[in-house]
């Protein structure tokens, strides 16, 4: 592996923690490459030149998610993501966002079970501003009580919006809390409301000092840049930040589930809903690709088995969806359906169970396999149209699997999945004792909606 010529000069001028080592080049599709570097501080740098448009994406992925939290302190990773837009030792409150917007940036952040990511997309030429701002907040964030208290209110309102007053959000949260008893995946990334409201500035400060270190992060730059320029600028800006001793992750593997778990709640809705979660393989597991094909064959499009049965043939559901968790540890395969008026959650479950049993007894047809694979191929290309989409793919697979180009490698794995593979994973995972069920019933027992008459006062 030959080191790029420009590295010698960069290293000669590097700050204390900014010496750069070259870690190689990975193909990213047919036309692009990812060049990988690492600072002496442990910060990983992944750069993909893409000159198709005069824009660039700059992502920072931290290997810190809600899985690293403890009971009583749930939601801290997500709250902290909000706080990262506050003041630093050199930037006044609000200045971070003002300078990014001044650069024409499209920016946001997100937190999930395994990671937290910060994404910025800017026009070409604005890279120096982004590097200055991002490196600054990695090391010099200032946390003050009034801002922490205000942000706690914002997050509590986000939770009301996404969970308390949202049926899908409430069901998903309850499903994971029911399916997991030991592993940290049992609490929601946004956190329990009581925990959110109880956080202190000291909690947030300790979290920052523990996890926001260069050796716990990867920077991804995709777009209209040159590798040498990016490496030099990052070495200079981030090379002043030293590595930290990261806390030991203290997680407990989820034991095998040995019996179906079922919970029922009431909500202000007109019809029953059902959500079923089967413990399923981790993203890096050999079984993940066949489970992905299985999920597509079940509910991946209008021609999928459950879509046809639930929505068309039995006219039992108004909506049906499937989701296979892409996580570092085993997650859930979630099947959700909303009943039509006059149909019950039990009606939906019976139809779903019939199709799941069929998957365990008969292999998918050749046509079904072809369709599932073609849908996923189209989905992959669709997700990579923008520089931000490419950076997101690289960052996600780097954070979860340490394989930044895995999107394309896994596409090849998917194409190799056979009907036998799908039959095997259906038999391994889709068993009643391995599942949890959440049922929502309408608040009014007859499911009737209120009178439509206008009530003018």
């Amino acid at each position: 592996m030959k080191q790029p010529d420009f590295l010698e000069a960069i290293n000669a001028a590097a700050p204390e923690h900014g010496a750069v080592s070259y870690q190689g080049s990975l193909p990213f599709g047919d036309a692009l490459h990812i060049e990988a570097f690492e600072l002496s501080s442990g910060l990983r740098i992944l750069i993909c030149e893409d000159h198709s448009a005069p824009v660039l994406a700059f992502h920072t992925w931290f290997r810190i998610g809600s899985r690293h939290e403890q009971p009583g302190k749930t939601g801290l990773a997500h709250l902290f993501e909000h706080l990262m837009f506050n003041e630093t030792t050199s930037l006044a409150k609000g200045e971070f966002d003002r300078r990014l917007e001044g650069a024409g940036a499209d920016s946001n952040a997100s937190t999930w079970l395994d990671w937290t990511q910060y994404n910025v997309a800017v026009p070409s030429g604005q890279l120096p501003v982004v590097i200055e701002l991002e490196s600054d907040r990695m090391a010099h964030l200032v946390l003050k009580a009034p801002q922490v208290e205000s942000e706690i209110e914002v997050v509590a309102n986000e939770r009301r919006y996404r969970v308390e007053d949202d049926i899908d959000g409430a069901m998903s949260e309850l499903l994971w809390a029911t399916a997991f008893e030991k592993h940290a995946y049992r609490w929601p990334t946004i956190g329990w409301m009581a925990d959110i409201l109880a956080f202190t500035t000291e909690d947030c400060d300790a979290f920052y000092r523990s996890y926001y270190a260069p050796n716990n992060a990867t920077v991804i730059v995709v777009g209209d840049v040159t590798v040498a320029d990016v490496v030099e600028r990052i070495s200079q800006a981030y090379g002043k930040i030293g590595r930290e001793q990261l806390p030991l992750e203290n997680n407990i593997p989820e034991p095998a589930q040995n019996g179906e778990r079922r919970v029922e709640i009431r909500k202000a809705t007109a019809t029953d809903k059902i959500s079923i979660g089967y413990h399923s393989p981790a993203l890096g597991d050999y079984d993940y690709a066949p489970m992905n094909v299985l999920s597509q064959a079940l509910l991946g499009g209008r021609a999928s088995r459950l879509q046809k049965k639930l929505v068309r043939e039995h006219e039992a559901a108004s909506d049906a969806r499937i989701f296979l968790g892409p996580f570092r540890d085993p997650g859930l395969l979630e099947i959700y359906a909303s009943a039509r008026t006059g149909k019950s959650a039990e009606d939906l479950l019976e139809i779903i169970d019939t199709e799941l049993r069929a998957l365990q007894s008969e292999p998918l047809s050749c046509d079904e396999l072809t369709r599932a694979k073609a849908r996923m191929e189209l989905g992959l290309y669709g997700s990579l149209e923008t520089v931000d989409g490419k950076a997101n793919s690289i960052g996600f697979y780097e954070a979860v699997l340490q394989e930044p180009a895995a999107a394309f490698q896994r596409q090849q794995s998917l194409q190799r999945v056979t009907a036998s593979d799908v039959l095997r994973v259906a038999r391994r995972y889709l068993n009643p004792e391995n599942r949890s069920i959440v049922i929502v019933r309408p608040d009014s027992p007859d499911g009737e909606v209120s009178t439509a008459e206008d009530n003018h006062e």
């Binding site: 824009v55 966002d97 917007e101 024409g104 009301r160 007109a270 008026t341 669709g382």
Partner: protein
């Protein structure tokens, strides 16, 4: 290249995206038949070439494609994407969908039942429910108040004859605009468009006859009562802008400073300073007629009255005093630089060209956007705000649990002129 064909080529990925669009949508549904254009589009998709829906769904997935219909108030569009290797059979399918749909009566009845279930399903979402009812509250009996999905009554009333007539009226070759992007060049795109046009009958399709809306006077409150809410949805709006207004872009710049970004006044006051709402935005949009200016927040029940009052006070200050030079410069710089993300993919570039034609935008609306934004002065921006932003004539909607809100909402609105309370599952009218 025909004027009706738009193409943006990029060989970066092996996919082709396309849309076949008509500049008239659900506002042209006959009275009492709201939802007809959407039902037609979906039925065309399900009965292309007189074939069955399962056969079609299977073929589309096998080809590695997506094919859908989008119907808004002002546009009827067939759109999709496909792996390049499947473009030929996919276009044959689109041709069958446009020109030879079976419009099977049993499938129509099934589709109507699905649509009725969708209408009930939508009521589970507070924000969707609030938006639908706000549109009616804001636009009254104007066509912009109507929903493309239709209402339970109007969908039920749609007949096979209605659908056939609607297809005959829309499937006319000069009524469509064709846009392609991705792994396709100008010559290939022109050939596809020529082929699709040749399959259609003569004529210019359905014209948009929607008149300019008239916004009602006074501060009118609608409370949408939904049980067990921990927070509210607050929507405030009134007369907005028209792309042909001489002060249209000046108003857009001013709105960007008021509520268009995270650092804008509204977000700073409501979210950053007080933590009252996860989001706080104001927006302006364009159409073929004047559209509304509106604000959206979603504070918890206990903060709803104070949040609403703050928003109304901020709106008055915005109207009376306008924005500052510093705010103007920041908004202009943001709009100019972020424009790069309106044109960074071939699909977005094609969409902008298509928008210009579909909405009769002034010449150079998108192409000269950056330069024209740069020319806007503080005087122009603030004159536009004074002339266009409504303060006294506002539709205000609050979705929440009425009993928990008590009198707080009424008390927050100075000069309240009318008030109504409706249940959250209120049937829309057409």
């Amino acid at each position: 290249m025909s004027d009706s064909v738009i193409v943006e080529t990029s060989r970066a990925l092996p996919i082709v995206s396309f849309s076949v669009s008509q500049a008239s949508g659900a506002t042209e549904d006959p009275r009492g038949k709201a939802g007809l254009a959407r039902i037609l589009g979906r039925l065309m998709r399900r009965t292309a070439g007189g074939r069955g829906v399962e056969e079609l769904d299977t073929q589309i997935d096998t080809l590695g494609g997506t094919l859908g219909v989008g119907v808004s108030g002002s546009v009827f569009a067939v759109h999709g994407a496909v792996l390049t290797r499947s473009i030929e059979p996919f276009i044959a399918l689109v041709e069958e969908m446009l020109a030879q749909p079976g419009l099977d009566e049993n499938e129509l009845e099934r589709l109507k039942r699905e649509t009725l279930a969708d209408i009930i399903e939508t009521r589970d979402s507070d924000s969707d429910t609030a938006q639908l009812l706000f549109r009616q509250h804001l636009y009254g009996d104007h066509a912009y108040a109507r929903t493309a999905t239709g209402t339970s009554n109007t969908v039920t009333s749609i007949t096979a004859a209605d659908v056939q007539q609607q297809h005959a009226a829309r499937a006319q070759r000069d009524g469509f605009l064709f846009a392609f992007s991705g792994d396709i060049d100008a010559s290939e795109a022109q050939n596809v468009a020529t082929r699709l046009r040749a399959s259609l009958g003569a004529g210019t399709g359905v014209s948009d006859t929607t008149p300019a809306p008239r916004f009602q006077s006074g501060r009118r409150l609608m409370i949408v009562d939904k049980p067990d809410r921990t927070q509210t949805q607050i929507l405030i709006g009134g007369s907005g802008t028209h792309a042909q207004d001489p002060d249209h872009l000046a108003l857009c710049v001013a709105n960007t400073a008021f509520g268009g970004t995270f650092t804008a006044r509204l977000s700073q006051e409501v979210r950053a300073k007080r933590g009252w709402s996860y989001g706080a935005y104001s927006s302006l949009s364009y159409d073929r007629q004047r559209r509304a200016f509106s604000m959206w927040t979603f504070p918890k029940t206990e903060d709803a009255g104070a949040c609403l009052k703050l928003q109304l006070d901020m709106l008055k200050s915005f109207h009376d005093n306008g924005i500052t030079l510093e705010e103007l410069d920041a908004a202009k710089q943001y709009l100019q630089r972020s424009n790069a993300f309106s044109i960074d993919t071939p699909a977005k570039r094609a969409d902008l060209q298509l928008d210009s034609k579909l909405y009769d935008l002034p010449p150079g609306y998108h192409d000269d956007f950056v330069e024209r934004i740069g020319d806007i002065s503080l005087e122009q921006a603030n004159a536009a705000v004074r002339a266009r932003i409504p303060c006294d004539n506002l539709a205000i909607l609050v979705l929440g649990t009425k009993a928990a809100l008590g009198q707080t909402i009424d008390d927050a609105i100075e000069g309240l002129s009318s008030r109504s309370v409706v249940p959250h599952d209120q049937e829309l009218v057409d």
